[in-house]
């Protein structure tokens, strides 16, 4: 990583010193990513990539423009500032433009680990090698991806605001496939601190699922009791949170509008059953996140408590319009779990399906927040409280609203990756009734 706090401060000040406009925000992200990808049990594409990105937005009253660049020499900086100031002067006034924030207090970030930062390509390869060799020994093909992200994010503005956040993460996932019998299994892990990284059990889980999912039988689609592993849960939750905004509701074009009567406010209403509790906490020890949202400080925030909606994201302009406080978007999600083991959750199911993960989730109907997607890489029938046999995958059509309403029980939280986004999440597996598995897929 190139930029320390003082270097970030110095670079952002160099940019701000060139600005003549009334207001300016400078965002600098600087990263060094180690990317190790493999397929068919051999490393394929890979890279060690360092990059810097500067976003400068300037305003003259309510006229504004922004520019992005990735070079830091004086000539390029001057040219960029000149261009964006010209653009801003020519832009029409935006009545919703908000001036730069005043300096404020932020929580201490908890998103950096020296050990993660120091990981070299050779050490990364050494982490992956035993997992690949285990796959070879088990007679399965494996494909996987390890990414060590080492970055800093800086926000500085013309009012003297300055906030610097270093962060590290390691994301790892792998898919193991058994050619004979078309079995496929997947597992993942996501950590901030390298000390918490242990790839071998992750690999073992994927291999076990691949071997267990061979010769899958077809099961009839329909509304079904399911046990969703945490990777599936986090995808559905993240799709819900993309749409938990105050403005969309006030304008009449949110799924929330269909859940309340005309004139009612959704906050304070039990809209998500009575077993769902979700909150954000930037300093959560298991899944820490960034401490601000474009300068708005993040704090511990309750979103849904026992199914009752407690908060909605509110941007600065809309908060001003409505005379309420702005509410930054969630930077992480922690969902409360009852702490039951997977065996206990499965043990409660007379007839249902265990789902490892979901894939290709897309909005079908924004009015009901209906999403479609597929199950993948480890889908099993449950009978009389036990895993019975592997089943073919399904396409589902379901709303995360219904999923939360239909929670029967929940397990122990864990931090894993998903298919949709990389927001840190610490979520439990869920036992859910009436999940709409709408058609069978032949995909393994």
């Amino acid at each position: 990583m190139g930029l320390t706090k003082s270097q970030s401060e110095s670079l952002s000040q160099r940019v701000l010193d060139l600005v003549e406009a009334d207001g300016a925000n400078v965002r600098i992200t600087d990263s060094e990513d180690l990317q190790l990808r493999y397929a068919n049990n051999d490393i394929t594409s890979n890279g060690l990539v360092d990059r810097i990105k500067i976003n400068l937005s300037v305003s003259y009253g309510k006229r504004s423009a922004s520019i992005a660049l990735n070079q830091t020499d004086d000539e390029t900086l001057k040219a960029a500032v000149k261009k964006v100031q010209t653009m801003a002067k020519l832009a029409p006034e935006d009545p919703e433009h908000m001036p730069p924030l005043e300096p404020t207090e932020y929580l201490e970030p908890r998103t950096f680990s020296e050990a993660t930062a120091a990981l070299t390509p050779e050490q990364g390869l050494a982490q992956i090698r035993p997992v690949i060799e285990a796959a070879r020994a088990a007679g399965v093909d494996s494909a996987g991806y390890l990414e060590r992200s080492l970055s800093s994010a800086t926000l500085a503005n013309s009012n003297g605001l300055f906030v610097y956040e270093p962060s590290t993460s390691v994301n790892y996932s792998l898919t193991a496939r058994a050619a004979e019998g078309r079995g496929s299994g997947w597992a993942s892990t996501q950590v901030t601190d390298l000390a918490d990284l242990d790839l071998e059990p992750v690999g073992a889980r994927a291999i076990e699922k691949a071997l267990a999912s061979k010769n899958a039988e077809e099961r009839a689609p329909g509304r079904t009791t399911v046990v969703l592993e945490p990777a599936a849960v986090r995808d559905l939750i993240s799709l819900l949170f993309w749409k938990l905004g105050r403005r969309g509701f006030d304008e009449g074009r949110s799924f929330l509008n269909g859940l309340v009567k005309e004139g009612e406010d959704p906050i304070g209403k039990e809209l998500f059953g009575n077993k769902a509790t979700l909150f954000s906490d930037p300093q959560n020890g298991s899944a820490p996140c960034g401490i601000h949202d474009y300068g708005l400080p993040r704090k511990k925030t309750s979103w849904i408590e026992n199914g009752i909606l407690k908060n909605l994201e509110v941007g600065r302009f809309w908060a001003q319009e409505k005379g309420i406080s702005p509410q930054p978007a969630a930077g992480n999600i922690i969902m409360r779990g009852e702490g039951r083991s997977m065996d206990e959750l499965i043990g409660e199911v007379e007839d249902g399906v265990l789902i490892t993960r979901l894939w290709y989730l897309r909005m079908v109907q924004p009015q009901t927040l209906l999403y479609t997607g597929l199950t993948r890489d480890g889908t099993f029938a449950i009978k009389d409280g036990k895993i019975a046999n592997p089943v073919k995958n399904f396409r589902f059509n379901e709303s995360p609203v219904n999923v939360l309403k239909n929670i029967v029980a929940s397990g122990k939280q864990t931090r894993v990756m998903g298919s949709e986004g990389s927001m840190p999440m610490f979520v439990p597996p869920l036992l859910v009734s009436d999940f709409n598995l709408s058609s069978v897929s032949d995909a393994s």
């Binding site: 990317q35 594409s45 990059r51 922004s66 070079q71 040219a79 020519l90 390509p121 496939r177 009449g252």
Partner: protein, 549 residues
């Protein structure tokens, strides 16, 4: 502030400045190879001295501008530029790669060392060596022809066009409307150890809008997005678009859609406009026939493919009227380029993926043809989306060819349907991890009754299996119905990359396709409406590139 006051405040000097390229320095105006002399030689010589059997050096600059307007508020005036270099090496049968925005002799040398170290770190435990074919050397420059450089068009004109769209929509009764335009110039310089030295430049543009109508009493809303696709083109693509007329029509259609009868789920015949069918081509033919996906390289992300090498020349992928061809040379194609990112020339490399319904070819990058015993090597399908991306196999332009009868129109196809749906515009899309089971929606669903359009449906999705779907095709429009669709942002790979790609299509008729009612899928009880009381404003697109004339 009134719009006229803003225009009065605009000076000619200001407009000239805003029209300038990203930087006014002389160095910037020169080509990438001239701006960074000697670096290719440093990279390639060092790589070979450290044991590379192949190496390439890329410099890439991407300039962007975008404009976002919501109702009558200009909310996003953005520009940006990204410049950097990368080194890729093949050492002892293993790849290594490193990239940086710093472009200097010392940095390039260190990138080579890092890339070689990653390659050598795999020594002794790879199960198979990576081998690539010898490639001919190409030396030259290429530029996508366009009429009007969008970076030279004033901000004022861009703003006025988007405000015009929004005003048309609001005037027609939309509650909300946003419009935007995004333009990209991509410049690449490639040098490799086969002796290639190529420099290329291309531009693409994507204008779009979306309108929403709201019924606050019922807690309902409906949206309709524009149907103009992005293109490898200049500003003429936006100027030639009658967006004002389409915006007004979009509002009319959204209002009708909001009160249209909810479709009854079950099997129906479909006629699908090119504005929707291009994406079905992309998902059900484009992605399954990527060879790297078929061989397992994408298994940990988007999955694999039902289309395996043993199915070449034998799989009945579609009915015998279905022909789908690939190229990187089509006019205005988003994947059109002179040489791919392995340095393979694309001219003359056009190939059929499906011919007369039979699966004939995969899309391939360097080192892949040999893996399935195909002669001829790469067919030019390598692409890296940024200076810091490893080149991987990506889609060329992939297009559904017109039917044999040039006179067939969408109306002719509709005339052959007793009870069905005519689907126009893209909506939601999803397909499984081996490309079998798909589900798509659209923007507008016209009911077909006894060979004619008769009102609309709402809550429609069509779902099927890729091969069954294409084998259900029994009618295709003629050449005058051909339209070039596409996307800026096809996603693939880990880390993720996005690639622009075009897909030509004609209207197609498909028999007995599974239709879902999306409201029922969400668990809602669906109220039935009297279909005789809905408005009838049916517009049949599918005639060339001027759907809204």
């Amino acid at each position: 502030m009134h719009r006229r006051d803003w225009i009065k405040g605009t000076s000619a000097a200001g407009l000239a400045l805003i029209s300038n390229r990203w930087s006014a320095t002389a160095a910037e105006a020169a080509g990438l190879s001239d701006r960074f002399p000697g670096l290719a030689e440093i990279a390639l010589n060092k790589a070979q001295s450290l044991g590379a059997s192949f190496a390439d050096f890329h410099v890439m600059q991407t300039d962007k501008e975008s404009l976002y307007v919501r109702e009558e508020m200009v909310q996003g005036v953005d520009a940006g530029s990204s410049l950097g270099c990368s080194v890729r090496v093949l050492v002892d049968g293993a790849w290594g790669f490193a990239a940086s925005e710093e472009i200097s002799g010392a940095k390039v040398a260190s990138l080579v060392e890092a890339a070689v170290a990653t390659a050598k770190g795999q020594a002794g435990w790879r199960s198979q060596r990576i081998e690539i074919e010898n490639l001919p050397a190409h030396v030259g420059k290429w530029e996508l022809p366009i009429e009007v450089d969008p970076f030279m068009v004033s901000l004022e004109e861009k703003v006025e066009r988007l405000l015009g769209i929004n005003r048309s929509a609001l005037g027609a009764g939309a509650n909300y409307c946003y419009s935007y335009v995004s333009i990209v110039r991509e410049r690449k310089w490639l040098a490799n150890t086969f002796g290639s030295r190529t420099e290329q430049s291309r531009v693409r543009i994507h204008p779009s809008f979306s309108i929403t109508v709201v019924d606050q009493k019922k807690g309902e809303f409906a949206s309709r997005a524009s149907m103009l696709p992005p293109r490898g083109a200049g500003f003429e693509h936006l100027r030639d678009w009658d967006a004002v007329a389409e915006a007004a029509l979009a509002v009319e259609q959204a209002k009708e859609k909001m009160v249209a009868p909810s479709v009854t789920a079950g099997k129906m015949d479909l006629v699908i406009a090119p504005s929707n069918l291009w994406l079905t081509v992309h998902e059900t033919v484009g992605h399954p026939t990527e060879l790297d996906r078929s061989l397992g390289y994408e298994a940990n992300y988007a999955g694999t493919s039902f289309c395996t090498p043993d199915k070449l020349d034998s799989l009945q992928y579609g009915s015998d009227i279905v022909n789908i061809f690939a190229d990187r040379t089509a006019d205005n194609g988003l994947a059109t380029i002179g040489w791919d990112d392995d340095g393979v020339a694309t001219a003359g490399k056009e190939f059929p993926i499906i011919k007369d319904g039979i699966f004939r070819n995969f899309q391939m990058a360097v080192g892949q043809a040999e893996l399935i015993g195909r002669e001829g090597g790469s067919n030019g399908c390598s692409y890296a989306d940024a200076f810091d991306s490893f080149p991987i196999q990506r889609m060329p332009n992939i297009s559904l060819q017109p039917g044999k009868d040039d006179s067939v129109t969408a109306e002719d196809l509709i005339a052959g349907v007793e009870d069905g749906i005519y689907i126009d515009g893209n909506g939601s899309w999803s397909i499984d991890q081996q490309r079998y089971n798909f589900q798509f929606t659209g923007q507008v669903f016209h009911r077909i009754k006894n060979g004619k359009l008769d009102g609309m449906y709402r809550d429609v999705a069509y779902q099927g299996n890729s091969v069954d779907f294409w084998n259900a095709c029994d009618g295709l429009g003629g050449k005058d119905t051909y339209e070039l669709g596409g996307a800026f942002n096809c996603g693939k790979g880990q880390p993720g990359q996005v690639a622009p790609v075009s897909h030509g299509a004609v209207p197609g008729r498909f028999r007995q396709i599974n239709i879902l009612n999306t409201a029922e899928e969400s668990g809602k009880k669906v109220a039935s409406l009297d279909p005789t009381k809905v408005n009838r404003s049916c517009h049949c697109s599918g005639g060339g590139n001027t759907s809204w004339a």
